[in-house]
């Protein structure tokens, strides 16, 4: 009797702690979103989204920064998505599993933990100096791409791992080549997961400041980038400037909050897209 009671109390306490943990995390997140939304919401207008900053960035909008972020994320995607998927397919499906692949995998995991400022520095050396792309949207996009690669590879590999081996063997036993079995009986079921992980990685890249700081982001530009060799404005960097570097910091605070809100909505939107893609593709398979 006593024993049973004690077990129940222990269970109650256990669940209580778990629930409390979740509630706390959610509360912090919601509070954070609420704060940004409240302080930045008033700034948002069509003008804010569609016009360039004016009068020393104390007025006007943030369109160049939105445009720049889209552009740089696109370049990131062009580098990181196909390369990451191919690497993952090779690593998971073709490479002989052994000490070498384990080492490669470990290195990739480690790379995803390297601070983004280090990628920034590496990008300066590789893309800006050695490859002579200059401080440009191209250099910045490639740097972000390098930073995103470990994430897309890892996510894609995890997605491939969720496809049961019996699909591969079943196809091989019917006289499929290895590539046929992968293309027709593995990839279709792994791609939703691959895309989800990839888009999440891209969303993270879109919000990064450090890697683009030295490689291409500009404090202020009176024009939009016309080629891949131009510098660009980006939301996270713009936010950083508005929050810490501006000469009239109090006055531009609403703009900073507005920028933050746009950035968060952008990242959230990308994450939602990932969820929708996965849901759609999964349902199509049923």
């Amino acid at each position: 009797m006593k024993q049973a009671r004690r077990k129940k109390i222990a269970q109650f306490l256990g669940f209580f702690l778990l629930r409390a943990g979740l509630t706390l995390v959610l509360a912090i997140l919601l509070l954070f979103l609420y704060d940004i939304g409240r302080k930045g919401g008033g700034t948002i207008s069509w003008e804010f989204l569609s016009q360039a900053p004016r009068k020393g960035m104390t007025e006007g909008g943030i369109f160049p920064a939105i445009f720049g972020t889209f552009l740089v994320t696109l370049i990131t995607a062009i580098l990181a998505v196909p390369l990451g998927m191919c690497a993952a397919i090779y690593l998971n499906e073709y490479a002989t599993q052994g000490r070498l692949t384990r080492l490669i995998r470990l290195s990739i995991r480690n790379l995803s933990g390297v601070p983004s400022i280090v990628y920034g520095l590496f990008g300066v050396i590789l893309f800006v100096n050695i490859m002579r792309f200059g401080t440009s949207v191209l250099s910045a996009g490639l740097t972000l791409g390098l930073m995103t690669l470990p994430w897309t590879i890892t996510a894609s590999e995890e997605a491939l791992k969720t496809v049961p081996n019996s699909y591969r063997e079943g196809a091989l036993a019917l006289g499929a080549t290895k590539w046929q079995s992968i293309r027709t009986n593995v990839l279709p079921y792994a791609v939703p997961g691959m895309l989800t992980g990839t888009v999440l990685g891209l969303a993270r890249a879109a919000g990064e400041t450090a890697p683009i700081l030295f490689t291409g982001a500009a404090f202020f530009l009176p024009y939009l980038p016309k080629s891949l060799g131009d510098q660009f404005m980006a939301l996270p960097y713009h936010l950083y400037i508005m929050a810490t570097q501006h000469h009239q910091i109090e006055q531009v605070r609403p703009i900073a909050y507005g920028t933050a809100l746009v950035l968060i909505v952008l990242v959230l939107g990308m994450n939602m897209t990932a969820v929708v893609i996965r849901y759609r593709l999964r349902r199509k398979r049923r």
């Binding site: 019996s166 019917l174 398979r285």
Partner: protein, 256 residues
């Protein structure tokens, strides 16, 4: 060993198999006769699944494994350099232990093997799908729902679907790797009936650890233990008058 001779479709000669340093098969000599059912029995871990998977070289995909000795299909070494493993697997089909339908429609499952071999003709595909489903005694149950996902079928139906899928590519040999261990007794009876009818057109090799099943469906039985072939003979002989003491002890249920 003294066995009635027929036409050997598959023959293994001193077949050795290694998982890394572990020797899983030791000098196995078995003949699988044409249009006959050969059963491989033995306790768990005796190498019977390993054996059957060497016959269509499915073990090639497991890293760190090695085959020694010879496997002959119609007298030709399946490891010969001019043998295309893809073509080998089309000729030697396989049905796995757990039903493994692909997450596609019933139709697409059966048509899979044909499509990867480049068949596009819709009418021909339909024809083969119907014939294969009939051949696997599944047609009556699914004829109105070929577009449904194969996962909607019961376990026993899924296994017959996998058999139909194997039949569709017109193999010469069908390997069954414990095909009934994951399905219920009624479904098992259906699969067993099916195997007996398949014998007319195909050479069948079946791994099972159900001895009654081996006795019911097979013409020849190989008894394996610890990677070695203990006895190979006509099924009736194995189950009524085995030569080896180990075989007798196993079939009378004293171990295993």
């Amino acid at each position: 060993m003294n066995v009635e001779t027929g036409i050997a479709k598959i023959e293994t000669r001193d077949l050795d198999f290694y998982y890394g340093p572990t020797r899983a098969l030791k000098r196995v000599n078995v003949s699988c006769y044409k249009n006959r059912v050969t059963a491989i029995i033995g306790p768990s871990g005796c190498g019977k699944s390993t054996f059957i998977r060497t016959l269509n070289r499915m073990n090639d995909v497991i890293p760190g494994t090695r085959v020694e000795g010879t496997i002959l299909l119609d007298g030709k070494d399946v490891h010969a350099p001019d043998v295309d493993v893809v073509e080998l697997r089309r000729r030697v089909g396989m049905v796995f232990q757990k039903p493994n339908p692909f997450p596609k429609s019933i139709f697409d499952n059966i048509a899979y093997g044909l499509r990867i071999n480049g068949m596009k003709d819709k009418r021909k595909l339909e024809e083969v799908v119907v014939r294969s489903l009939r051949g696997a005694a599944l047609w009556e149950e699914v004829k109105d729902r070929l577009d449904e996902n194969a996962f909607a079928l019961s376990g026993g139906q899924q296994q017959r679907l996998c058999i139909a899928r194997a039949l569709a590519v017109e193999p010469e040999v069908i390997l069954f790797d414990e095909p009934c261990s994951a399905i219920d007794p009624i479904a098992t009876a259906k699969v067993e009936d099916l195997i007996e009818t398949l014998e007319k057109s195909y050479t069948v090799v079946i791994v099972t650890h159900n001895m009654q099943q081996a006795a019911r469906v097979s013409d020849y039985t190989a008894f394996m233990m610890l990677g070695e072939l203990v006895e190979f003979d006509v099924t009736e002989k194995i189950f009524t008058n085995p030569v080896n003491k180990l075989t007798e002890e196993y079939i009378t249920g004293r171990f295993g």
